[in-house]
């Protein structure tokens, strides 16, 4: 018996105390604090190969009898989304967050020649545009994934935060120095937009994380190279760090898929065929002449009059971009496509030489 606030006596129902996951669990902090790797112990650390959890039940919690479905969760097979280092990537993402408001030395931005400022603003417009897709798409897949695979879900949620910051930091850059947003490039209606048409998580990840973000990683690194001031240096360097983490997610997922679901390898090669098409499309401004690649050439060259110098640098960096893509796909376990003539990347590297 217990006394309620109004003084009346009531019966306690302590039945919930008997409905638990494994008890007497004592996770202990490691040298990096109490990470989700540290709490992956006993049954709590076991992600099922296939999940029938459609009720939002946290992995390891006792099931609630007769509970109704709250999620459709088409992603319920482990190899659909899993990767070996998800918990590590998540903790790294948390630890390496930054603020676009206070960690960027905005005071170092100074007036630039009009053509260079306009080019900076064009690039910032493009990046704001593509980062919308990079945030929207993983957010949707989080909601489609069973809670039993919470580690990769956590990484995707961290990615959404990263992309949100990228959207705002490039918008801030466009508005910070006497320019503004330029015309939308339409990149999101091409390959970048098509990422959101993916019907399978691995299809999405191969397009978004491996091909798309791998290309944007190169763009961010170029942004750091051509920065006109310390603020831009920091913006692009920090965005590149985030992007490299997203790329690692995609490559490690492909690697897991390759090892655990070999029957899907041909399907994955088809996704990579499509993803490689995006490497030469207008969505990749390092790929061919677009308003965005023109703007980068102007910034790299130091103005419209030195456009050719800038374009030569872009071509050199494009070669690096393609070589890095090829090595990531090899690392993921799909290197045979570069040996059997299926991939055009080697030809693209030669053309960029």
């Amino acid at each position: 018996m217990s006394e309620a606030a109004n003084g009346a006596e009531r019966e306690l129902d302590l039945g919930w105390m008997d409905r638990t996951g494994p008890l007497e669990t004592r996770a202990e902090p490691g040298k990096y604090g109490l990470t989700i790797a540290d709490i992956s112990i006993g049954d709590y650390g076991e992600a099922p190969e296939a999940s029938d959890n459609l009720t939002g039940r946290p992995r390891g919690a006792a099931a609630r009898p007769a509970s109704y479905r709250i999620g459709a969760y088409p992603v319920r097979s482990k190899n659909d989304i899993w990767l070996d280092n998800a918990s590590f990537l998540y903790e790294e993402a948390l630890q390496r967050q930054w603020s676009s408001a206070t960690d960027v030395p905005w005071h170092t931005i100074e007036p630039l020649p009009d053509d260079v400022e306009q080019a900076e603003c064009q690039l910032a417009t493009f990046l704001t545009e593509v980062e919308f897709v990079a945030g929207d798409v993983p957010a949707r897949w989080v909601s489609l994934t069973t809670p039993d695979f919470y580690e990769p879900r956590q990484v995707l949620l961290a990615q959404v935060m990263d992309e949100s910051r990228h959207m705002d930091v490039f918008r801030k850059r466009a508005l910070a120095n006497g320019g503004g947003l330029m015309q939308a490039t339409g990149a999101t209606s091409g390959f970048v937009g098509s990422i959101d048409l993916s019907r399978d998580f691995t299809e999405m990840s191969s397009r978004l994380h491996v091909s798309g973000e791998g290309s944007v990683l190169t763009l961010f690194r170029m942004g750091e190279l051509m920065a006109q001031n310390e603020a831009e240096k920091v913006i692009y360097r920090l965005c590149a760090q985030d992007e490299a983490r997203h790329v690692a997610f995609g490559v490690m997922h492909l690697r897991y898929m390759s090892e655990t679901a070999p029957e899907r390898r041909e399907e994955i090669h088809c996704y990579l065929d499509e993803a490689e098409g995006g490497l030469i499309g207008a969505a990749n401004p390092v790929g061919q002449l677009t308003p965005t690649s023109e703007s980068m050439a102007i910034i790299l060259g130091g103005g419209k009059d030195h456009f050719d110098d800038g374009m030569n640098k872009i071509i050199a960096i494009r070669r690096r971009q393609l070589q890095e893509y090829r090595k990531r796909v090899i690392s993921a376990g799909f290197g045979e496509r570069f040996e059997n003539g299926r991939s055009r990347v080697a030809q693209m590297i030669e053309e960029a030489a």
Binding site: K233, I317, S331
Partner: protein, 146 residues
């Protein structure tokens, strides 16, 4: 006064880097990698573990087989970078690690194993690596006579 390059020099930079909590935020933070540096004929290896650079050691060419990535450029370019950091308190726009990487035809960062996931750690932890070398601005450095 520490001679660049030497384990003593890297140790002094480690002491500055590990003691300054500002390097743990602003895009810094957990960093877990083993990075190699080929400077002239010498090879050095730094181990980053969590918030700290936990070890600096001298190695040889074979040591580079095991690092996640290594940075290689001519001795003069290393010296210019370190001198630039000392003069400005941090790398200027032309001497950051990423800029030096992209500005060089063969790049600055590479590996022997060719695994791009491990090579990508150079990009993933770039701010931490930059913080590390920028910390050298507080180390009195001398260079070998040419």
């Amino acid at each position: 006064m520490a001679l660049f390059p030497s384990v003593d020099w890297f140790d002094e930079v480690r002491n500055v880097f590990n003691a300054d909590e500002r390097y743990r935020g602003a895009g810094g933070g957990y960093c877990n990698c083993v990075a190699g540096f080929r400077i002239a004929e010498k090879v050095f290896v730094l181990t980053f573990d969590g918030f700290e650079c936990s070890a600096a050691a001298e190695g040889d060419d074979g040591t580079l087989d095991d690092v996640d990535f290594y940075l290689e450029m001519p001795a003069k370019a290393w010296r210019d970078m370190v001198a630039n950091i000392a003069a400005n308190g941090a790398a200027d726009l032309h001497h950051t690690l990423n800029t030096l990487d992209l500005d060089r035809e063969d790049g600055l960062a590479t590996s022997k194993h060719g695994d791009q996931v491990r090579e990508d750690l150079f990009f993933r932890y770039n701010q931490t690596l930059q913080f590390f070398f920028d910390a050298s601005a507080l180390v009195e450095t001398e260079f070998p006579k040419e």
